[in-house]
């Protein structure tokens, strides 16, 4: 069966020294998400932080219907 929908997600986890990059990556993903959303792509951007481990995470998910 020919697939009709494709979904791609990228998860980025920031722990320890990498935590300093979190905000810039989130801002960049936010800019990309705004544009992909404008282009008609289902876009989900999730950001979570776990204070116990000082861990931060950004997940960008993109989904679209495939051309028939």
């Amino acid at each position: 069966m020919i697939p009709s929908t494709a979904s791609f997600s990228v998860e980025t986890v920031f722990v320890g020294d990498a935590a300093k990059y979190f905000e810039d990556v989130l801002e960049l993903f936010s800019a990309i998400a705004t544009k992909t959303s404008d282009l008609g792509i289902y876009t989900s951007l999730k950001s979570t932080s776990d204070p116990r481990w000082k861990e931060r995470k950004v997940v960008l998910e993109l989904r679209t219907e495939l051309p028939k």
Binding site: T5, A6, F8, T12, A18, L39, L62
Partner: protein, 159 residues
């Protein structure tokens, strides 16, 4: 309809075609919505085999590397790979002087967010998760843990 698995990079070819319309034949007025969108952007990105990009704007073409956070090492690597420009969200202090020294031009990543989103869209619609992974792998800092997933749905599993 182009097949998702033809030789080379589908996006590069598709974009190349539109670039031709935009930059080689300015007298042509009969263009579609996509072309108009590109024209408004005034810049088109193509993903190249080595993970770098070709930025085509009115001023000509520039080989470009894109990083969310650029280190001095990234600047040197960009230069070594033949790139003339580096687009970054944040340039670490250690990298601040490097571009001028080695002759690499710096570009604000926000300025190319539009064409970058178009590349991502075309890769997803062209079912090229390996290239999407390469793109984000280039973009994201090495210090962060990155993982990717790709799924295709059909028929009853459609969401």
């Amino acid at each position: 309809m182009r097949s998702p698995r033809h030789g080379g990079l589908g996006v590069a070819e598709t974009f190349g075609k539109f670039r031709g319309l935009l930059f080689s034949s300015p007298s042509r007025r009969c263009v579609g919505v996509r072309d108009i969108y590109y024209a408004l952007n005034k810049a088109v990105l193509r993903l190249l085999e080595d993970g770098s990009f070709l930025l085509a704007a009115e001023g000509g073409e520039t080989k470009l590397r894109i990083r969310s956070v650029a280190t001095g090492d990234d600047v040197l690597k960009a230069k070594a790979s033949g790139a003339e420009a580096l687009a970054a969200k944040l340039l670490l202090p250690e990298a601040a002087e490097a571009p001028a020294k080695v002759g690499v031009k710096l570009i604000n990543i926000q300025d190319i967010a539009d064409p970058l989103a178009l590349v991502i869209k075309e890769l997803l619609r062209g079912r090229r998760p390996e290239l999407l992974t390469r793109l984000f792998q280039e973009l994201l800092p090495d210090a962060a843990v990155r993982s990717y997933s790709y799924t295709e749905y059909a028929g009853v599993f459609d969401r």
